[in-house]
Symmetry: C2
Subunit: 349 residues, 2 copies
DNA sequence: ATTCAATTCCAAAGCGCTTTGGGTAATTTA
DNA sequence: TAAATTACCCAAAGCGCTTTGGAATTGAAT
């Protein structure tokens, strides 16, 4: 039962060929005849030969691995958004023969990890998660010369590196505009942490929509924290309990929107009727019906699949790894506005 | 700025020592004097020397990587449960100098991937996710001889391999008993897919509690599917619309419980008052307040942190890798019953 | 002073692959 | 038929580390 570990040497001896020829046959080099190549392939299959990744990576300098380093600390990056992103990325990697490697980073360890990655090429490239408003990793990665793609953007030199981002600003602007069109004037923004670039941009979109309609910004209607369910709940409760409560809520994540729904429920308000709830929706898979999925979207939202984003980021990174010379690639994804059942005209207060 | 890639050879030349000595000094072998060792360490730090993982893994046969292979297909394994598990595991790995590798598997590819992992040791061990009732991977992994730990259990030879599981049966039994004690007689079970071992066991716990109280099982009150929000919603709605609806619901996951809450809301029922909702709670981080966390638990639940489970499984696997001779380790975790606000005595129907 | 053991270090042989720099046989051109 | 390509194939040199099997030095014991 135990797999007999057959290596290049043994395989080539068995075939009566040199290691060179066998290696070239397997790797598709033109210097070997089709007949020989086929013979080699058959033998490789028969003996279940698989080249050792450490040996070939030692010889080529290619690891065949993409690295994801995630901060494990206070602001948990490993969350449902992340896992959906991973699902997309790992699928793309698997199809192209890459593996996905995750390393958890304590506070301020990230630079060390990147340096470690590159100095002995444990990985061929990295994806950068959760860029901040003041992002330092990008410059650093450029300086140590490792291929990378950012999921999101930092400010500044946007065309000096590769990234994929959704148009957060216009997404939330669109959503806010819709609520305003419905007649809402007091609209709360339950945002993510605004040191994160995406949350910062969403705030801008919110502000722009209000400004376009001559509605002043009430700072009491805005909050900014890590996006989780209790945050959405607490914030919504607090705002509902204001003397002059908002009639509509915009959430930066379905996770906090779920908390908002719970808050509405507890306060006896039916979303869509007594109160309007809308959200940015990453199409997290645990919220998707896995059957035909023909059910109408429940919440009014602007949507963009973070799983698709993960897949695409993975592809972009692999492209960049295989053509080192190519210029940075940037993609800005638009979002779809979906009208669900959780919004309506403001309730006669 | 570009990192100068200093290797063992260069480092030893600079020190005027042999590669052997430098290697041994760094790896803590006793054959080298403390004075020399310190000198070597200092130089290594100064030049930022880091051994190449591919080279050392080629020489030692150790990859320094733990593999997680996850089916990417229909039954999405990459979900919030998985990401919390990963958060724990990757933290444990990082502390011990291991990396975490994920490979997405298409249907029926798993065995191939394991074979690939072991035949050229890309990884030193794997963790097995989501064991089924009829589980084939365990035997296979034993036969190809790679260290592994199962998150969960399969039936059969429970002491022939290492696993960590929560006591799913007693957890749901406990929860169901509590509801029965509250006076409920018609209790719905919104279970996970019962081809999964954990869901099968939970079903047994549910059945045992009912049987203990002489309550018959109504198959119409039981459902079994992938645990996501829409499933929880649809199922709850459907059951609520029955002629003789249940007064209490037990969910196998907070993900479907959230859907259940939504259903209650839509039907105008307040959990804890008009209807009772209880769930198995893996303490998913997105549902945890990230501050002091002193908020009372909202839902009545049996809880066990899947993130802690991930951490522990990681540790167990690393232990097993470093003592290959050791007997299998098994841990069965108890759950805590927490009384929240979503349950109460049955409503006078 | 001599012997022996412990200490400290080293040269060189792998680990399994890729790739350079030819070589030889088969095929085409003059 | 001889010369020049072309098609196929190979030996051997790394890639950067660990580890085997000594060798040289030191200090204590005789």
């Amino acid at each position: 039962m135990r797999e007999k570990t057959v290596n290049l040497k043994r395989l080539s001896e068995h075939l009566g060929l040199s290691q060179t020829t066998v290696s070239r046959a397997l790797n598709g080099f033109p210097e070997v005849s089709e007949k020989t190549r086929q013979k080699v392939r058959d033998a490789a299959n028969k003996f279940n030969y698989r080249p050792s990744p450490s040996a070939s990576s030692l010889a080529t300098g290619k690891a065949g691995i993409i690295g994801h380093v995630v901060p494990i600390s206070e602001h948990r990056m490993i969350n449902p958004h992340f896992s959906d992103f991973l699902a997309g990325a790992s699928d793309a990697y698997a199809k192209a023969g890459y593996d996905l490697l995750i390393r958890a980073a304590q506070e301020n360890q990230e630079a060390d990890i990147y340096r470690d990655f590159v100095s002995r090429n444990r990985v061929d490239g990295v994806v950068v998660h959760g860029p901040r408003v003041n992002e330092t990793r990008i410059q650093f990665l450029q300086s140590i010369g490792i291929p990378f793609v950012v999921h999101g953007r930092a400010g500044g030199e946007e065309h000096s590196y590769s990234w994929l981002d959704v148009d957060n600003r216009s997404a939330i602007e669109k959503l806010t505009n819709y609520l305003i069109d419905q007649g809402h004037r007091r609209i709360a923004l339950v945002n993510g942490l605004e040191i994160m670039n995406f949350a910062h941009r969403r705030r801008l979109g919110y502000a722009a929509a209000l400004a376009d309609h001559g509605i002043g910004i009430d700072p009491d209607l805005i909050s900014s924290q890590d996006m989780n369910e209790p945050y959405g709940y607490e914030t919504t409760i607090a705002k509902l309990d204001m003397p002059d409560p908002p009639t509509a809520f915009v959430y930066s994540s379905v996770l906090s929107a779920i908390g908002g729904m719970r808050a509405a429920n507890v306060r006896g308000l039916l979303p869509g009727q007594d109160i309007s709830l809308a959200t940015f929706d990453d199409k997290l898979s645990f919220l998707q019906a896995n059957g035909s999925g023909n059910s109408l979207p429940y919440m009014t939202s602007v949507t963009s699949s973070i799983q698709d984003a993960g897949r695409r980021v993975g592809e972009m990174l692999m492209d960049q790894i295989s053509n080192p010379g190519a210029p940075p690639a940037c993609e800005l994804w638009k979002t779809d506005l979906l009208i669900g059942k959780t919004t309506g005209r403001p309730h006669a207060g």
